[in-house]
Amino acid sequence: MGIFNKVGLITREAVFGTKYSLHVIFHPFDGFYDIKHEKKGNIYTATLFVLVLILIFIAKRQFTGFVINTARQKDLNIISEIVSVVLPILLWCISNWCLTTLTEGEGSFKDIYIYTCYSLVPMILLLAPLIVYSRFLTVEGAAFYSFFNGFAYVWTGLLILFGTLVTHQFTLGKTIFSVIIVIVGMGVIAFIGILFFNIIQQVIEFIGEVILEYDLRV
């Protein structure tokens, strides 16, 4: 009963928070400030946004109108789609947290996660109807589609930029500089991650070979 309660509360928090996000995306400076200092955002809503975005990307891949859609529907790999959304977000948050600590940013990991995920809302709001619209498009209308598609990404990008500015209390110049080094940091973390996995793989292979040798010789 207690768990059911907890889940209910989490869902409640998540759904409540969505209303405020509409305010945030149109008034980022106020919105992000209030999220941080007046606790108007919460991590459950943030995670809800990520989940909804995953669904939207999958729907986009599968249901976008034939004229524009060059993906092969039957080759959908859900794991791949989920990772392609979650991984960049996590990488960004981790890299952001690591590097903004060095540049004396004031945001905690929780703050970073929340403002990043709230910035995804324009993508959710724009891409969903765009999928429907794309089904009625002709080749000439593809220009409209590209425009709105790009616009969603640009809006999200700007929100992330302003979120960084407000949450860490940077000047604009420092924000741009931070964003650049955070992106570089993402690359470094990804690289080290791959390296790490490769090395572990080789160690395991080596141990396996040693065991095999032992087996055959003794």
Partner: protein
């Protein structure tokens, strides 16, 4: 009871064994095509070998490295037996009627030396590229020498020491179009008197700025090892009934082909096959899924083996790697043309728009496969392929599948849509993967104003352009009747939004009985 059971089992055994008596002929190769995604899809063979004409049957003695087979519109057959220094004329049964080993011109007798390309024009005049003697011989139908064309006396040829004609075609005004070994400025256009008018079809070479930079600072030794930017040489030419010249070349690199395929490139750059106007402009339509290059996917030259799952490896032979090497082209009515890939012994046939229709042929020693396919001719709805290694000619005839494809296209071009539809339906019944058939059906539906049906088939055919066309027409059509639909959609949208709000409310109510735990989250409303 037991008796009927036994009878039943016996009947089932008999019925099952009937399936071993198949009536379809098996061919030494598999027919196939490439779908939108570049996957090789097995298809019923469109052409099957019907006759292997060996030199014994021809009555000529073994052929040695023959290079060209030519069949004129009136059925005269000429074959250049290159390393035997002779040209053979054959009748319609492929039995030799004449062996030309030498000529007499202005009192001087000369022998042929490694003759290669042949051409017979509408007046029955035979043109022989006497390559070893650096000349082209023009013979009348009764074998008299009308003219001999040697190296034109033109400043355009300064810098080229040798005139070595390997292929020639002649148009209605008796102009000669010649490919010469070692001359890469395009096709030489000579007038009837042997005067060089111009070059046509010289491929433009675009130098990549980055490569140019590296070349400019590289040492001599390094420059020699870089690929040079010479225009590619054509290896064959073909004159079609409308006066266009098809050209083939096999000197396009593997990287260029892979790049063209990956980007579905429709331009004329680095194209192994072109269709030139007499002014030299390439007008070949490349609207298919991929540009016409022969095989679209192939193991690359650096790859030594294919991993078949687990630790199984199949080591690749030389001819299984790398792109197709196109060496000849033959065109038929309605812009349908076929190219010959000498590397893997296959014939690829494309329609006017550049859609791949079917592929047949292969490498091997059985009838229908080749060891050195070098020349392709089409005559009377049959294909003839000359194999330079075995010195034999293979004749291919249509199957019912091949006939259906070609008839469907021909009926459509003649505006006989119902007949075309029947043929395409037959094609689909034999090969459900046939995107070209779905495209054909879609186009017919479009003609019949069945826009919804057309859209369905264009989607199956993976044709976004036609799908868009059909959708546009559908929307235009429906716009009049559309008003009701628009209103309906607005109401439906309003209902959906209302529903979402209701669901949200309901969710909040449902999960609200944990109200007392509110304070745990530190909210104070």
């Amino acid at each position: 009871m037991k008796k009927t059971l036994l009878l039943l089992i016996a009947a089932l055994i008999v019925l099952n064994s009937l399936m071993f008596f198949k009536t379809s002929a098996s061919v030494s190769y598999e027919g196939y095509t490439y779908n939108y995604w570049g996957e090789k899809k097995i298809a019923p063979p469109a052409f099957v070998p019907s006759r292997l004409i060996t030199s014994d049957e021809m009555g000529t003695g073994a052929l040695s490295n023959p290079s060209d087979l030519f069949i004129s519109d009136s059925g005269v057959i000429a074959l250049s037996d290159t390393d035997n220094n002779r040209v053979l004329l054959l009748d319609s049964e492929f039995e030799v009627t004449k062996k030309i080993t030498g000529i007499e011109y202005k009192g001087v007798k000369t022998l042929l030396a490694n003759p290669e390309g042949l051409f017979i024009d509408d007046d029955g005049e035979l043109y022989i590229c006497d390559t070893g003697n650096n000349r082209i011989i023009r013979l009348s139908p009764d074998g008299n020498v009308i003219d001999i064309y040697i190296r034109p006396d033109s400043p355009l040829l300064d810098g080229y020491s040798v005139f070595s004609p390997i292929r020639v075609v002649v148009d209605k005004s008796k102009k000669l179009y010649i490919i010469s070994k070692g001359i890469n400025m395009g096709i030489l256009e000579l007038d009837e008197n042997g005067i060089l008018d111009k070059f046509i079809g010289a491929p433009l070479v675009f130098v990549n700025k980055i490569d140019y930079f590296w070349k400019s600072i590289a040492s001599k030794a390094q420059t020699e090892r870089m690929s040079s930017y010479v225009p590619t040489e054509y290896n064959n030419i073909y004159l079609d009934r409308e006066g266009f010249i098809y050209t083939t070349t096999d000197s396009v690199t593997e990287d260029q082909i892979i790049a063209k395929v990956a980007s579905r490139d429709r331009s004329t750059d680095s194209s192994p096959v072109k269709r030139l106007t007499l002014g030299g402009e390439d007008v070949l339509s490349r609207e298919g899924f991929f540009p016409p290059v022969g095989d679209v996917k192939f193991p690359i030259n650096n790859q030594d083996y294919i991993q078949n799952g687990g630790s199984e490896r199949t080591y690749l032979k030389e001819n299984e790697k790398g792109p197709s090497a196109l060496v000849d082209v033959a065109a038929t009515a309605y812009g349908i043309y076929s190219v010959l890939d000498s590397k893997r012994g296959r014939i690829f046939t494309y329609d006017y728009d550049g859609n791949l229709l079917y592929v047949f042929g292969g490498v091997g020693a059985q009838m229908g496969t080749f060891l050195g396919a070098i020349s392709l001719c089409e005559y009377d709805q049959k294909y003839y392929v000359l194999d330079k290694v075995t010195g034999s000619i293979t004749e291919f005839v249509r199957t019912d599948y091949g006939t259906a494809v070609l008839d469907a296209i021909n009926f459509y071009n003649d505006s006989e849509y119902q007949k075309s539809l029947e043929q395409w339906n037959f094609v689909v019944s034999r090969d459900a993967n046939s995107e070209i058939a779905y495209l054909g059906i879609g186009k017919i539906k479009l003609m019949q104003n069945d826009f919804v049906g057309a859209m369905k088939y264009f989607k199956l055919a993976n044709s976004r352009e036609y799908y868009s066309k059909a959708m546009k027409l559908y929307k235009n059509n429906e716009l009049g009747k559309g008003f009701g639909a628009v209103v309906f959609i607005l109401i439906a949208a309003a209902l959906v939004i209302a529903a979402i709000l209701q669901i949200r409310k309901a969710l909040l109510v449902m999960i609200n009985f944990g109200k007392t735990d509110f304070k745990k989250f530190g909210r104070n409303d």
